[in-house]
Amino acid sequence: MSRSAILAGEGLSKQYGSLEVVKGVSISIDSGEFVCLVGKSGCGKTTLLSLLSGLERPTKGDVVLNGKKINGASEDELALFRRENVGFIFQSFNLIPTLSAWENVALPLFPIKMTAEERRRRATELLTQMELGHRMDHLPSALSGGEKQRVAIARALVNRPKIIFADEPTGNLDSATGDAIMDILNRLHSKEGVAILMVTHEVELAKTAERLIRMHDGEVIS
């Protein structure tokens, strides 16, 4: 692993019964790097992302995230590690329907000892950056798809992560809104220096990334 690498997976495999979904993949992402993982549906992209982010444990291999080998950690240790180092953006936004936009952004901060004012201040700051300052108190049901995804991006940033894992972040959006979301991700990467690992099956979108990793049938092919 190079000195500047924020994330590395060594010989990662994931097996469900007799089905091997990820087959001995080794991957490394540097700090501030924007990497896209592309491939057809079912090729193992999302599983690889889950392994690298500590959401899932590999059958074989090691994951080193921000200098720490995480595959031996307990569930709660992994949760704490994610809280401090990782942000997630999902295809279906996964906002909590009963919480307002700013509360959804502040969700990762709820278990942390912090004043409510400080949580709100951090959420407001990020929502303003996402041009959603006027939608702070709206429930997700009152937001458009693009707005929901911008709230989800703000949530991914609220804990000031070293790396963001984005799983098909534009998959549920029309192309114009998808482009806007990609602009935000590019801006984050270039201005904030956040490393991004994005999974997509759209090769055109992936071209905006610094590096492209192609997967096929559980293996990295290029």
Binding site: L55, D76, A79, Q91, S92, N94, L99, P108, F110, D167
Partner: protein, 416 residues
């Protein structure tokens, strides 16, 4: 635990919240009402004895009088010896004994139900002092009589008249309203106990059926420690014989015939069912809640909530729901109890405790003590149910903690 998140969940998921609260509150209300009903019936069963100032009444059945002439004992109440009374007074748990002598007196032109009473004993018929409607109560050492007001009206007896009972004359010093008095030991004429004892001792007809010495009686009213009533009833039968009629609140409870009055076991079983139903409702709702919110739980874990964070959040939701259900259940129970309080209960008085001879008008009729169901929700029961509802909430949340821990974010967030 985030209180705002918790309140939002309960507020915005109205259907889920209301289903859980209503379901559990019905279980809690059922538990309170069943127990309050059982307690009310128990309290009602005390009424016939309580109004005579006693917890137990005792009499001994005997033979039917041979001739209905002069003073006789009703066959349901014959001699209880003075020595037996002394033994009874010495039993542990006895707080006091009231004595009385019930006689049927057949004079040539009139039949009297006569009750000899201890004027100053608060246990037993002297409690009727408060039922004097005119004149005064009989005084110690004086040979005078009280007459039941309806009987006096029927036979034109006036205050200050002299009545002749078993050839002895008594001035009438007061009237008693029997309709306001206890159904046990009601009579037409109330005399000092000593006068009635003298009347019994000098009656040959009475002596031939049930030998009687001065100082003996045929009715006992016993005040006892509540927890010792049942063992005392057995001890009394040991002293007076198995045939002795020992009436306790439990014997009236059995006569009530209500399911709630039948046994503690019924109430216990019904309460347990209510609790189990409440637990199942809470458990089912919470389990459904977790299944429905698996993706949300996955998100929480993905963004860094530990299992403990998630379990605490959902556990507190469950506790708050159950807390609200406890309040609602209590309110429902109070409203239902208020409604049930208008219900009338008829407590049958056994024929052998009713003093009117069956061959006289009204003597064969079943008599009842009628009262409004004395139902209320004691604060201890309310508090118990309330705490129970919160415990159910906590227990359910804690039991489902393992299920929450099993949810893997990678599985529930996979769409996609």
């Amino acid at each position: 635990m985030n209180l705002h998140y918790l309140m939002n969940e309960l507020y915005y998921q109205k259907r889920r919240t209301l289903t859980a609260i209503l379901g559990l509150s019905i279980g809690i209300a059922l538990l309170i009402i069943l127990n309050a009903l059982s307690m009310a019936y128990r309290q009602a069963a005390h009424a016939p004895l309580k109004e005579i100032g006693a917890d137990i009444t005792v009499q001994r059945p005997g033979d039917v009088p041979k001739d209905l002439a002069g003073a006789v004992f009703p066959c349901s109440a014959v001699t209880i010896r003075q020595s037996e009374v002394e033994k009874i007074q010495g039993l542990p748990g006895i707080r006091g004994v009231g004595k009385a002598l019930l006689l049927w007196v057949f004079d040539p032109n009139r039949a009297w139900i006569v009750l000899g009473i201890e004027q100053h004993n608060t246990i037993g018929p002297a409690i009727l002092r408060s039922s004097v409607t005119e004149g005064r109560f009989i005084e110690e050492g004086k040979s005078e009589a009280l007459v039941e007001v309806a009987y006096a009206r029927q036979f034109g007896i006036k205050l200050g008249d002299t009545i002749s009972v078993a050839d002895k004359k008594f001035p009438v010093v007061g009237f008693i309203d029997a309709s306001r008095a206890a159904k046990i030991a009601v009579a037409n004429v109330y005399l000092p106990l000593a006068e009635a004892q003298q009347m019994a001792a000098s009656s040959k007809g009475l002596q031939s059926v049930s030998p009687y010495d001065p100082g003996d009686v045929n009715l006992l009213f016993i005040k006892a420690d509540q927890e010792k009533i049942t063992p005392l009833a057995a001890s009394l039968k040991n002293i007076l014989g198995k045939k002795a009629t020992v009436a306790t609140p439990d014997s009236f409870l059995k006569l009530l015939g209500s399911l709630f009055a039948l046994s503690d076991k019924f109430t216990l079983a019904a309460s347990l069912i209510a609790i189990i139903v409440a637990i199942l409702i809470a458990f089912k709702t919470m389990a459904g809640n977790i299944a429905e919110r698996a993706r949300e739980i996955g998100v929480l874990k993905a963004v860094g909530w530990t299992n403990r964070n998630v379990v605490t959040q959902l556990l507190m939701e469950s506790v708050v729901q159950c807390f609200l259900a406890g309040i609602l259940g209590l309110l429902i129970a109070l409203v239902v109890a208020f409604g049930l309080g208008f219900m009338k209960v008829n407590i049958p008085i056994p024929w052998d405790m009713a003093p009117t001879p069956h061959f006289l008008p009204g003597g064969g009729d079943q008599i009842f003590k009628t009262l409004r169901l004395p139902i209320h929700v004691p604060w201890t029961l309310a508090l118990f149910s309330f705490v129970l509802s919160i415990v159910i909430g906590g227990m359910t949340g804690a039991l489902l903690g393992r299920q929450i821990a099993k949810i893997k974010p990678s599985e529930v967030l996979r769409h996609e």
